[in-house]
Symmetry: C2
Subunit: 131 residues, 2 copies
DNA sequence: CTTGACCTTACCACCATGGGAAGGTGTAGG
DNA sequence: CCTACACCTTCCCATGGTGGTAAGGTCAAG
């Protein structure tokens, strides 16, 4: 299977596949006589694993670890769980941060006339006026 | 006031201030005879405005718009409100997305032994096993 | 005059991805 | 066989923000 086929089957663009290979996230693909990258079913499974990991928001470096664990029959599920939980913790922090911004901004917007007049508590807040 | 002073007063690193100037987010600073950037109180207010906007998660391009509106006495608060609300909507989407990931991942982690054995529903999910 | 803190520009790096150019390859139809 | 056209290759550039660092100029105090 060429890279285009692998891309559409895995849902990862050809561009990204090459990038993942370049940075060593996935091993170098086999090559045809003409130099075309060739992908096996096994390679495809790896790509799908990577894609699902990305969808769950893992960073490339984490996926690299996950891939090692995945391919290691002597892994301990503890390591995987630990990685997942620390990712979850990070996400929860991010959510809280965004939530607090949303609350602030929504509140400001609620008190903004939203008409043709220039007065606006949003700008006032950004300006830092402590009125 | 030199850039170092402006940086520590505004909470934006000198590096970032130069970057903001370079991309045109803020106007070019006045220069001393020796070529040092010089900042007035007014400039400092702008920097603080930018910093607060960043803290609320606005992208640079949006801050550019906010700055124009801020400096436009004939602005309509509608424009500001609209910008804020569309930002809020984007944030809400992002939060939902992250929340869904957290739920999934926490659930998987809950069902992972987290011991020395290799069995792990997290990896199974990433692998795509539909069992 | 020296020292040290500050400033300048200019470059490289990160993460993850998209775009595009310039050129080779593979295949199908005329 | 030739021509299209789809696909592949590598290479460079861009994004958004930021940090780092190097090579050099400036300023104030001692």
């Amino acid at each position: 299977m060429n890279i285009g086929q692998a891309a559409s089957s895995s849902g990862i663009s050809a561009k990204r596949i090459r990038y993942y290979e370049q940075i060593g996230l996935i091993g170098p693909a086999a090559r045809s006589a003409a130099g075309y990258r060739t992908y096996s079913e096994r390679d495809l499974n790896t790509l799908l694993f990577v894609r699902r990991s990305r969808q769950l928001g893992f960073a490339i470096a984490e996926i690299s670890t996950l891939l090692s664990l995945w391919q290691d029959r002597n892994r301990s599920s503890e390591d995987v769980k630990q990685l997942a939980l620390s990712h979850v913790a990070r996400l929860r922090n991010k959510i809280e941060e965004l939530q607090s911004i949303v609350t602030t901004l929504q509140d400001l917007a609620d008190h903004c006339g939203g008409d043709a007049r220039p007065d606006c508590p949003i700008l006032a807040e950004l300006q830092g006026s402590k009125s």
